[in-house]
């Protein structure tokens, strides 16, 4: 039986209601945190847990929290990143829609740890139908004394608000998100200063992903040391994987990090249930559209011939030559019928559409990459176009204010590196 922390109550009817959530142990972590812990002890527990950001970058959460500036008399903010727009990723939606109280409780524990009295959940506008679900949960939590003034009879106060975006992938980047929350275009800011020093309204701010914040609830419940025993090495705890594409059972699965091999994840009945239509596996994008795509041999095994496991380290083994990344956990599976250049076109179109336009290499380069792949897949490509495509991505990678440039370059680089034959097939 695999370890479930976030989705352990997934089968429980009405778990979106406070009463039912409480019957299953809900809000015990919030009580424990507020009544028996201090900001510092809570941050310590999260440090000990080894929790890493689930939004894509995998940065240690406890460390990020400890960077938060605390000038006297200046408000601090916790902002939950629910922008979830990385193609292939839909786990935050699943969590918020079915387990809204888990997120709210995570927001309460995390805000308490940071000494924040106001928190925002910035949700992508397309998820509008989830707004009332979250607002209802906030209302219920407030009525039960977990939010508002003097929470649980202490002097801790917290208000939470849900903010809707307007449809822009870039607003998932944390500084663009803050701009958007201030009512502006989603143009990423130059760093430093980092949000921990000057974030929302110029005040110290922590931005964390939905799943990261939800994971704080089991960490408070079991303690950081116990949480760190789950998983393998620096990949502690569990991770939600959004599985899609050519598999029999697309969906959101919670895995214990490092304990499930990629092969088992794809083929076992517990998870993806195998490649659909009895076809063979061709390629996997393991962590959302931005991470390098890998062919069957490299996704199932590392270059050294070890089975590849579902963990930050194992997926990353081999660097960009033969490995990939955990990213946001958006796991897209492609069968043998797919031409990878055609799939790449959908990614290139995406990044071109979503570039905010501030930096020329990204604004122009993503457009050129889209045009070039379009020309190749429509049969108008020249043999030299493949190298031109390679050259283009090298001129975006690392040359932009925010990592959208890299996010756009890596899929191109990996597709050309591992699937050159697919491009050649389309060029006559």
């Amino acid at each position: 039986m695999s370890t479930k922390l976030l989705l352990k109550n997934d089968h429980v009817a009405n778990i979106n209601k406070l009463e039912v959530y409480k019957q299953h142990g809900g809000y015990a972590s919030a009580e424990k945190a507020i009544k028996t812990m201090t900001s510092d002890t809570l941050v310590d527990e999260v440090k000990k847990s080894g929790l890493r950001g689930r939004g894509g970058a995998g940065f240690p959460t406890g460390m990020k929290w400890s960077f938060l500036a605390k000038p006297a008399g200046v408000p601090r903010y916790l902002v939950c990143n629910a922008d979830e727009s990385e193609p292939g990723t839909f786990k935050d939606r699943y969590l918020m829609e079915r387990h809204p109280h888990l997120l709210i409780e995570g927001m309460i524990c995390s805000s308490f740890a940071l000494g924040a009295n106001t928190g925002f959940i910035y949700i992508r506008g397309e998820y509008f139908y989830i707004v009332p679900i979250l607002e209802k949960a906030i209302e219920e939590a407030k009525a039960a004394g977990y939010l508002g003034n003097n929470i649980l009879g202490t002097d801790y106060n917290l208000e939470l608000h849900v903010q809707v975006g307007g449809g822009a992938y870039i607003c998932g980047e944390e500084t663009a998100l803050l701009e958007s929350l201030e009512g502006k275009r989603g143009n990423p800011r130059m760093k430093p200063p980092f949000p921990a020093v000057a974030g929302l309204y110029g005040c110290p701010t922590v931005v964390n992903n939905v799943e990261t914040i939800a994971a704080v609830v089991p960490i408070v419940a079991m303690g950081g040391d116990e949480y760190a025993k789950i998983g393998v090495g620096k990949s502690t705890g569990t991770k939600l994987i959004s599985a899609s594409g050519h598999i029999n059972k697309p969906g959101v699965y919670e895995i214990e990090l490092g304990k499930v091999s990629v092969e088992e994840f794809i083929n076992s009945e517990e998870y993806c249930g195998g490649v659909w239509k009895g076809r063979k596996l061709k390629a996997v994008v393991a962590g959302g559209s931005s991470v390098p795509i890998l062919p069957t041999n490299l996704i199932l095994q590392t270059a050294d011939g070890n089975p590849r496991m579902m963990s930050y380290e194992s997926l990353g083994e081999g660097g960009f030559i033969s490995g990939t990344m955990m990213g946001s956990g958006g796991f897209i599976v492609m069968d043998e019928t797919v031409n990878i250049a055609e799939n790449l076109y959908t990614f290139n179109r995406f990044y071109h559409h979503e570039s905010c336009g501030q930096c020329s290499p990204c604004r122009e380069g993503t457009g050129w990459m889209e045009k070039l792949t379009h020309s190749i897949i429509s049969g108008h490509g020249k043999p030299s176009d493949i190298d031109l495509l390679w050259d283009l991505q090298t001129k975006i990678d690392g040359k932009t204010i925010c990592p959208l440039g890299e996010a756009a370059a890596w899929p191109v680089a990996s597709a050309v590196r591992h699937f050159r034959a697919d491009f050649e097939k389309l060029i006559h």
Partner: protein, 178 residues
């Protein structure tokens, strides 16, 4: 005609504005643009944007530059039902192009166009976070998932019969606010 929220919408607007700290009203801009789009025929005409600028005491340009940045805001009139079909990887892998083609044949328009009777607009959009239930489209706040051409036929018939304008800021969210 003067552009103004009715009493109920104004109440919602003020409630949204009250969430933000003193002097930070501009944060209400995106939510208010959604509200305005829902209240004023599904798109943001210049007088509507100017009205929002007045409400938030900001310059009109601050509204225009935001409205034109985000893909959910329509700066031109749209059909009563905007069918937003995802065409990104996971949906593409599971037949998004067939769904788009079927819609185009059925409604006799191309993606990006509106039917002559003003009922439907087809729009190609990027990943909507529904990749595990692909192919899919969104109409207003409603997600339609695991689509087949038969399912699409039923959905279009139902939307056609209802004849209502669909918005993101739908009645559910509106009542939740009021």
């Amino acid at each position: 005609m003067e552009v103004k929220f009715d009493e109920a919408a104004l109440k919602t607007a003020n409630k949204i504005i009250s969430r933000y700290p003193e002097g930070k009203k501009k944060s209400a801009l995106l939510p208010l643009l959604h509200l305005a789009q829902a209240e004023f025929d599904g798109w943001l005409d210049v007088p509507v944007m100017d009205y929002i600028a007045t409400l938030l005491a900001i310059k009109p340009i601050e509204v225009y530059e935001v409205a034109s940045f985000y893909s959910m805001f329509n700066l031109k009139p749209v059909g009563k039902c905007v069918i937003e079909v995802c065409h990104t990887s996971s949906c593409w892998l599971r037949g998004a192009e067939e769904i788009i083609q079927h819609l185009e044949n059925k409604l006799h328009i191309k993606a990006g166009e509106t039917t002559a009777d003003g009922k439907f607009t087809i729009k190609r959009v990027e990943c909507l976070g529904s990749c595990g239930t692909a192919p899919m489209f969104q109409v207003g706040a409603q997600y339609y998932e695991n689509l087949t051409t038969e399912k699409v036929d039923t959905i279009i018939e139902d939307l056609d019969k209802s004849g209502k304008r669909t918005t993101y800021f739908d009645e559910v969210s509106l009542t939740a606010h009021k």
